[in-house]
Symmetry: C2
Subunit: 759 residues, 2 copies
Amino acid sequence: MKEYRLIGKRLPRIDARDKVKGRALYTDDISMPGMLYGLILRSPYAHAKIVKIDTSRALKLPGVKAVVTGEDTAKVKFGVISRSRKFIDEYPLAVDKVRFIGEEVAAVAATDPDAAMEALDLIEVEYQELPAVFDPEEAQKPGAPQIHEHAPGNISREHHMKKGDPDRAFKECDLVREDTFTTQSAIHAYMEPRAALASWDLTDKLMVYTSTQTPYYVQQHLGRTLGMNPDNIRIIKPFVGGGFGGKSDGLSAVEFSAALLSKHAGRPVKIVCSRDEEFTAARRKHPASITMKTGVKKDGTIVARQSRAILDGGAYCSLGPLTTVLMGTFQTLPFRFEHFQYDGYRIYTNKPPCGAMRGHGGPQVHFAQDAQLDMIAEELDLDPVEMALKNGLKTGDESAAGFKIVSSGFAECLRKVSEAADWQDKKRTEKNDPKKAYGIGLGCGGFPSGAGFYFNKTTSAHSSVIIKAGEGGGLSVLTGASDIGQGSDSVVCQIVAEVLGLPIEDIHITSADTEITPPDMGTYSSRVTVAAGNAALNAAKAAREALFKVVADKFEASPDDLLAEEQKIFVKGSPEIYTSFVDAVNLYQKKNQGSPLVVKGSYNSPDPLSPTYSFGAYICEVEVDLRTGELTVLRYTVGHDCGQPLNPMSVEGQIEGCISMGMGYAISEDLRFDGGQTLNPSFLGYAMPTANQMPKIEITHVVTDDPHGPFGAKETGEGSLDPVAPAIVNAVYNATGVRIKDLPITSGKILQGLKDKDR
Amino acid sequence: MKEYRLIGKRLPRIDARDKVKGRALYTDDISMPGMLYGLILRSPYAHAKIVKIDTSRALKLPGVKAVVTGEDTAKVKFGVISRSRKFIDEYPLAVDKVRFIGEEVAAVAATDPDAAMEALDLIEVEYQELPAVFDPEEAQKPGAPQIHEHAPGNISREHHMKKGDPDRAFKECDLVREDTFTTQSAIHAYMEPRAALASWDLTDKLMVYTSTQTPYYVQQHLGRTLGMNPDNIRIIKPFVGGGFGGKSDGLSAVEFSAALLSKHAGRPVKIVCSRDEEFTAARRKHPASITMKTGVKKDGTIVARQSRAILDGGAYCSLGPLTTVLMGTFQTLPFRFEHFQYDGYRIYTNKPPCGAMRGHGGPQVHFAQDAQLDMIAEELDLDPVEMALKNGLKTGDESAAGFKIVSSGFAECLRKVSEAADWQDKKRTEKNDPKKAYGIGLGCGGFPSGAGFYFNKTTSAHSSVIIKAGEGGGLSVLTGASDIGQGSDSVVCQIVAEVLGLPIEDIHITSADTEITPPDMGTYSSRVTVAAGNAALNAAKAAREALFKVVADKFEASPDDLLAEEQKIFVKGSPEIYTSFVDAVNLYQKKNQGSPLVVKGSYNSPDPLSPTYSFGAYICEVEVDLRTGELTVLRYTVGHDCGQPLNPMSVEGQIEGCISMGMGYAISEDLRFDGGQTLNPSFLGYAMPTANQMPKIEITHVVTDDPHGPFGAKETGEGSLDPVAPAIVNAVYNATGVRIKDLPITSGKILQGLKDKDR
């Protein structure tokens, strides 16, 4: 590996101190004079016609400045995947009908939050309740309530893919297993609830501060739904307290209502969702039922896969049509399949819409896949690690879904974790304590480093960065990329600083302000490090080229002979011949009649699927109390190939975060419903792991130095989640002999499994 | 004149509606979480040593989070004209010594304004009073108190210029007059007091919102005085409620104290000056004593001028060293002098520092010049208008100070106003009413359209503009130019829209945010329309060129054959062959792999003095109550040559504002002192004209279509002030025979003059 000055170093985030000390400003921290407080009225019915809405009493309440309903809108539907008309199925405020409990029906803005709350009660909505359906199997049956007119059988999306001839191939296999796995309803539970502050000015320009992953989509979708040129809308993303896919829908009723209320009231309006609203009405992960059939040779070589997934989509599309695809394609990572078939069905139900959540379909199918492979290995008396090594995708391979593997450290991940975890010995640990049992399990994953396409029609590059040099040698870097807590601002600054030989403190970043920064797809599909990183790299190289040109002239050297290091531009091999960086900037200005150095760099994925893929192998160790079924996760040993970790501390943070989130998914997080009513809409009811439940974590960085990533980097924020849950599931089996096929692994299920086994 | 779509049209300002409705955000409208309220402790002595400051009691007061004094600073002096070390004479917070009543000694930040106010009382400052001097004549005498060690005789600046041989020339003149004129202390009285909100973050980067005319100077001077790289300081200029030169010093204790308090407190700090502080301690106009000697031929041809000015500078330099020069050079407009001599002396006194104020030395010397020429005309029995016509600078002339006149509509201004005001008849109006007298008078002016140099060392162009095109066809325009109420944002948008054939609503401007926008000298010396306007023009042309290139390719035409009009790009002569502007932007992106259209344009004055000069002639009509001396201004007839008025409504607004301000200067505004103590620091005591005192105003635009101005425009914001006061003075003389040589023209002076005349 080449040694860099900043790249690959453990650097604190540029915003860490301000965040820790409470100085970072999130949307709710921002106020404007005359600002009103907005609240949203939500449907109490899972499925109903809206017969009439009377806002007159609410409007008469002192302090109330505006009330809006679907009737005040242009009645234009939106949908984040707006390239396909059939995925545009949702009004930002309900028109005529509501389809889930919590759907947005009206919004109110008042001078204080109490008045706004009281006004909600005074909005009189006459509903005519309709029969509702909550189960995706029921929803497909003839005679089931029809949720959308355009979707007979309530099929929101179906997706079919086939490679080779699995049916024929299964006949030639030594072992074919078919299992059905089911997963629960889980949700992002980001720290910062959705929030928007909109100010519609008197020249009909709109400014919206919003907690979003995708400001440029918000700009487009607000434009479409409000009937405005999107360039008249300025979206500013302040600090964001997490998203995990939950703020990537391009629009929500929060932004739309704040904007419309601001227009009506002639004052700025801020809406901040309550935690209850987040749990009951925000996007969430798709619950899925996955029937998976896998055929192998007796040496463990995987030959064929056939699978069918039923996704409980909830009432609207959101990003679900894509999830339906990804639950197929993501099965093709990290293993080779000669024959592969997938049939996915996303079904509308009268529940809150499901969309993207970290891993985006991956956690569901990797749970199924790794659990099933663990069972197959046992049946064939093979070591799961050996079996994974045999089947893992290698550099140069193409997955069954067409993913081109330009670099793969998967095998090395497996070898490293197996050794580091003492896998061979530990998996044979004797189970002779009647009170508690130790177990160890493997989980594997692979993940694209960013989608290679926009969800909407656009001519913009996937990422662009503009750099403007200051006379003091500081650089203003303008990027459309959205730091939502993952640290992309730090990565962009690090890359620019590395290229130009500057300390990171000399880079001043402005990110995700549509009026100022150049377009960027947004923060989703683990794309930002590769895409915005490459755009930053290209912009920094353009700046370097411009500066080298004037410095080369000065030294009568060739630009190729120059180096930018330590705030200086050197002649290679002659460290005494240099100009300081700040002098070079001023020299550039002098040579250009004072014109500031302004350069840009862009990036597009070279592959429409993804430029490159990350890999990982996780070994989990658990202990199960055989009397209570209580499960304790002891340790994770992680091998992760994210190409070149630009900042190992950030990569480790992502992995640790994934382990926490994956553990919650595996063990405790579960949104429960009574019909369409969420039963546990609080942090108390939705049991996320707490800090004291975190296991020991040992991470090995497998460095593959990817040819497409900036400085060789690949993604690490989502792929790291996929192996977490199956590793626990397999460890629980190793400990207890209880095979969990239905998440989460509750102590009740373990006890029941132990009981069934004894029978 | 060429006819344009937007240029030359009466357009409302782009921000007019938001300002009128109170939606525009000024510095005091902006708040941040945890923000503290800052106040400044000021010296009660005109001249004293600071023996000791004890802040301990103040710091103990609940709510007080920081107190800073000169001892907490790096003790670095600043001065806006920082190219010359001798003009850098002021600490942002006093160190060791105070030199005027109101000088900034300490600053405090507290959680509420009351606590901050109380804390001011608890700061214990031990002073040792020193003898003070308040009169510039006294201050020059041997033995006078020495205000600055570096300035013996208290001479802050002297400036001498000579062309030809006035002494010899006077001998050949038919008439030589010498008069001494004196002017009072006047102040800007901008609507918005100075205000700054500083946030020093935990990575040692500083952000300051401030009400300034010169954000880039503030950035530089804050950097210097705080010992920081200026690129680590971000200055944002929100809406500003006027400056008139009073916010052009590059730094004030307000910004500095807010920044330092924020650093100490670890929280944002806002300081807003009270009106009292503005009247007692802010910059103001130089009172001056001008001895002017002018020699003419009997036909009225001016031959020679010799003048000497003594400026009462107050305690520090501010922009006064430049005022000292300008009071000489501005005398050379709008008339020719073959022989010219000027000797200016700016004297330090223990009063608040004087600096730039609208017209910057011009109002003082034009009062003297036009009054004296009126006297000369009377003595020679010549018509003042005819005499002005004979001596006025013409296109191609060079003034005695070296001002190169590239376009002059002065003669046409004179002819037009003379006719419009019925000058020839009215000046002969019989004076036979014992109660009241009618009078008419002429005032003339000429003014540079922007200085041709920065006050600090820099490699930046005088103005730059960056344009970024949005996918919706909207343009983000980034300009360093500071709209302080004069409307430069509107002008920049208008120019870009005109060049690109867009409606002005499609232009989205961000101005004067040092981290985002490119450098600009700032708003002073009436430079912005010409400099930022030309930069905008150049940037817009660069955008047009880039778009024409891709459109020409599409149509297989030459870029030279294209036209941008009505949101379309046409082939000239074939209106049916076009692409919409928005399509052209997207075509550009497609041809450039999605890279956004980002272009820049810069401008430097081609002349180190100024690129071009405006001219004006004003006729004022008054009525004087001969029993009370009460003066009523009846009417102004204005001829103004600002090249091409880009927006006649804005030009007229400037002229009307100048008439109001000039009337105040002529008639009523006068800061009175008892020693160093301001006696009338309020709007009640400082009698600005009110709306109901405004006369009728008739404006004739003399269009000269200047070759250097953008679309032919020249300045209009300062030159329009110069003729206002002398026109009144001459009208009063015409009415009453009372010659006022000492401003303001109070009714007492008129009565005294009438009495003296009768004697």
